[in-house]
Symmetry: C2
Subunit: 585 residues, 2 copies
């Protein structure tokens, strides 16, 4: 006999009077005056099993002894329920059980297998195989599957070929730290795990593959922050014979398609903003544009003459909070405390209220009379009932702080709606950024990113002003992807390496094979990579990626379920020609 | 201006008189009395560009200076060709070029970029990005893409979810060697790269995911044979609430679908054979059934009484080679030499010919008269013109040798047609095999494989006779996949570990998390894994996997293009708390 004729999310009234076989887990048992109900669960849903003293008393006895999460198989008759459950796909029927077979007993799980569980994070991770039985986690993983498949089909239809690039590659000291793999057959030598398939996808373009993509694991040995994983997944893409516009069009098409397919949301295009505009308007290169609160800068006139905090500041900038002139003193103090936290480090928050009678009041009434405040109101385009919040200080720091405050308010006021999706291209990133520590220019994107042709003449005289043909795609305040047009000209590439402080020898050692490849006819090309974990999480309406990964690691890079990493035995180390050395304090 | 309006495989007569822009690589240049033709190549095809002294002499001059593999962009008019090329999709048209722009010059490639290249293996690997420009390699990679996508769509439609399992896991000393990854954050500890997602897919079944698949890289640190790679790709699958029959049906469905979609070949079912039958009939657990030459064993009567080679042998077994009674002495000697090679190690080959006049002759006429030989003929079902080849000796060795001879003849006689596909299930593998070295039983498949219920009673008394619910799928003489029904009962699993010589402690240390998981309600489950590289190669009509991998490694596990593995610098080693030790001779 097969283990089942149907699954637990399948049967409806139209199956009435059918004899069926189901298998699954015991989710819940209820006894009710001579009757007993078992919720039988599998991946597809829940079906109610019914036992009745009058039908079969011993069978009811047996069912009453089933523990939660026991795996059972039953045979029975589909019958109409007297009290239907509209929340359940199978809520119109129940199964009158004839036969019950226990397939596997279960110990009491360490936390409840319900939508809302009583299990803490560490416990859930340790028993991840039980956590996955919970509907929210299961649906996250199924969403991830659906997203991956949708992307693959979409890109394939556009002529992109998924090509696997190698995992055992070569370490490059640039950038983040590599995970490395000692080679037994090449004693004393190491492979590295890829941080991205960047160079390989460029080589595929040199190889004429024209349109490449790959949904692929990447690895980065970084000190882990809350929502980072040492292994993560990218949707990695590259195209030949394209300009920036081709790439933007192609991949906003992909995102629009995905939002339609996965979320049923129709958007027609993705707005664009330059990096400079994003920084000036939102203090952030990945603004959440689901809500407004755009930055308004106070010019000299608006800053007045007496208030030193403003007159001395490099930048005075604020936001309008619609309808929040009724914020209490306590609420305003809490916002002040927020921006004074060491992570943000501002010294004070100035507020002004556009009151219902169209007069203004502020935290700096001493320095600004009502005319001055009304001028602020004009500048911020307030209406009665609106609140203005202003920060002042060093330009970069103040923008960053105001951005944090804006996001904080967005969360607090429920403006960041998880079911709303507002993608945005951020364009024209600077090519270079100055690194104070090493006292040299670093590539903001990576060393193969092409400068904008119209800025090329500034490369030596004013490197900071050179913009790159680089772009990020942002969704709801998170960078979900980024890329660039690559340099395909070896002369320009050489100039870039010089600018970045690479000697010819260093450049050759690290990127020699790519430089060599470029000698043999590289086509113009460019690409993009999406963070697959992040994109899935956002489509799932959440900000943390961990529950969208089947078996994630904790913040120390450990898998607490399998207890990895772990020690090796001496023989394994010896074979690899490596030994452990004591870390010095 | 966009880099192209069309690609190089697109334009036909219906595009005549259109102005187009194309980009690509210069494949070939021919001059012909005042005219010059350039074959322009991209991934999609080749388009002929035409230059004419009369139209534009300087442009023709410029074109004549283009080197092979230069990247160019042209504008021109689509015109009908006078001499059409039926072999080319674009063979009816050519482009009358107005404008020519060199996008990137190219050095002379180290080998010709043609279907048949003059480049040796090492050179092709070193410049793999140029090798990929060659049509056969490019088509292999596109086939691989198409196969992956086809499998993904097929399995997804059946409710399988692709779920990514982790790459940084835990080393288990059992089985093949792991590649390991030192953990910087957990000093002195190591991750291992997965040899397969086996335990994780079983945990996903415990987690109720019901149907899982993944096309995924796996890693094995083995001494590499000719056609093995340290990193390889599997189509990894698992299902819950299934018996062996469910799995066979599901995945022969997949293979049938793939053959139809990718090769246009219709087969309706996959034949089945037990392991014992395969060994007896083909001397091989992965027989190529595209051709016959089934083994025929000589019983005592047929062996005669005088010929010691036969009378002393554990096994006398032969094959019939249809229509090859005309093999010359030299040809027969060559076959004898073949089975005498040290890799095979037989001492002699006996032949008999069913001659055109229906008499027999043989290499052992001294011992067998024509009646005796005619009895062989009956047994082998020969007809006039057929050849019989016989080996004798130790049963296992002789079967293996005859299998090699059969395959050798299959190749030699052109019976292994690359465009013919004959899949086969091999079933009922032994559960255990005796390991002479360690003097204990090993799991033939893996320790989680379920014995056949009807053989369970033999587990302690006659372990060698216990068959497993394990199956391989074979295509054209290659194992392309294999799997098993897993043990989901912890009592039976414990018994298996004992039989395999694991102490409780060892079992707990290595598989503790899986054993724990099985305490919480594991469903009956089973699965299969396909070798994706091998399957792609076979569908591409080839036996070697290397040209179906974009960036393969050589037999020393090196990537000669990027020159990996390589040394690390001291700082990197120190951060990982490891040091190099000298390998002792």
């Amino acid at each position: 006999m097969a283990f089942r004729t149907h699954h637990c999310g399948q049967l409806t009234l139209s199956d009435s009077q059918k004899n069926v076989t189901l298998s699954g887990w015991v989710q819940r048992i209820r006894e009710l005056g001579g009757m007993l109900f078992v919720d039988l669960r599998d991946r597809y849903g829940i079906t109610q099993l019914t036992f009745n003293e009058e039908w079969d008393a011993p069978l009811l006895q047996e069912a009453s002894r089933l523990g939660r999460e026991t795996v059972i198989q039953i045979e029975g008759l589909v019958i109409e329920r007297s009290s239907k459950n509209a929340h359940l796909a199978t809520g119109e029927i129940e199964i009158k059980v004839h036969n019950l077979k226990v397939l596997n007993r279960a110990k009491l799980p360490p936390f409840t297998i319900e939508d809302e569980t009583d299990g803490g994070d560490e416990l859930r991770m340790q028993y991840r195989y039980l956590d996955i039985r919970r509907r929210p986690v299961r649906e996250n993983l199924l969403l991830r599957h659906q997203l991956g498949l949708t992307v693959r089909i979409y890109l394939s239809k556009l002529g992109f070929a998924e090509i696997e690039t190698p995992f055992l590659i070569k370490s490059t000291p640039e950038g983040a730290r590599d995970f490395v793999v000692p080679s037994r057959m090449n004693s004393g030598q190491f492979y590295a795990l890829p941080q991205s398939p960047q160079t390989f996808k460029q080589l595929l373009m040199v190889g004429g593959m024209d349109r490449y993509f790959q949904i692929v694991k990447c690895f980065r040995d970084e000190d882990l922050r809350a929502d980072r994983q040492p292994e993560f997944t990218q949707i990695d893409c590259e195209m030949a014979f394209v300009e920036q516009e081709d790439i933007l069009k192609t991949f906003e098409g992909m995102l629009i398609h995905v939002l339609k397919e996965i979320k049923g949301i129709e958007i027609t295009s993705v707005p664009r903003m330059t990096y400079n505009e994003a920084m000036r308007t939102y203090g952030n290169d990945k603004p959440d544009i689901r809500f407004d609160m755009k930055f308004v800068e106070l010019d000299e006139k608006l800053r007045g003459t007496d208030f030193k905090v403003f007159t001395d500041a490099e930048l005075v900038v604020g936001i309008r909070v619609d309808g929040k002139a009724d914020f209490s003193r306590k609420e305003l103090d809490a916002l002040t405390d927020y921006i004074k936290r060491p992570q943000i480090g501002m010294t004070g928050l100035i507020w002004a209220k556009h009151q219902d009678d169209n007069t203004f009041t502020s935290s700096v009434n001493k320095f600004f009379d009502s005319n001055a405040l009304a001028a602020w109101g004009d500048s911020f385009k307030t209406k009665a009932g609106d609140l203005i919040l202003i920060l002042a200080g060093n330009a970069n720091k103040t923008r960053k702080a105001l951005s944090e405050l804006r996001m904080h308010l967005g969360n607090q006021l429920g403006l960041r709606k998880p079911d709303e999706f507002a993608p945005l291209w951020v364009l024209d990133f600077p090519l270079l950024e100055w690194d104070e520590e090493s006292k040299r220019w670093h590539a903001m994107h990576h060393p193969f990113t092409a400068p904008k042709p119209e800025d090329l003449h500034l490369l030596e005289t004013e490197p900071a002003a050179v913009r790159a043909n680089a772009y990020d795609i942002v969704l709801n305040g998170h960078e979900i992807g980024g890329g660039s047009i690559r340099i395909h000209d070896k002369g320009l590439q050489k100039k870039m390496f010089t600018l970045l402080g690479f000697s010819d020898e260093e450049a050759k050692k690290q990127f020699g094979f790519l430089m060599d490849a470029f000698e043999y006819g590289a086509p113009p090309h460019g690409g993009i990579a999406f963070g697959f974990d992040r994109l899935t999480a956002l489509l799932g309406g959440q900000e943390s990626i961990r529950d969208f990964i089947a078996f994630p690691k904790n913040n120390s890079g450990r898998d607490v379920m399998i207890d990895a990493p772990a020690s090796l035995n001496e023989d394994q180390l010896k074979e690899l020609s490596i030994g452990l050395i004591q870390a010095k304090d």
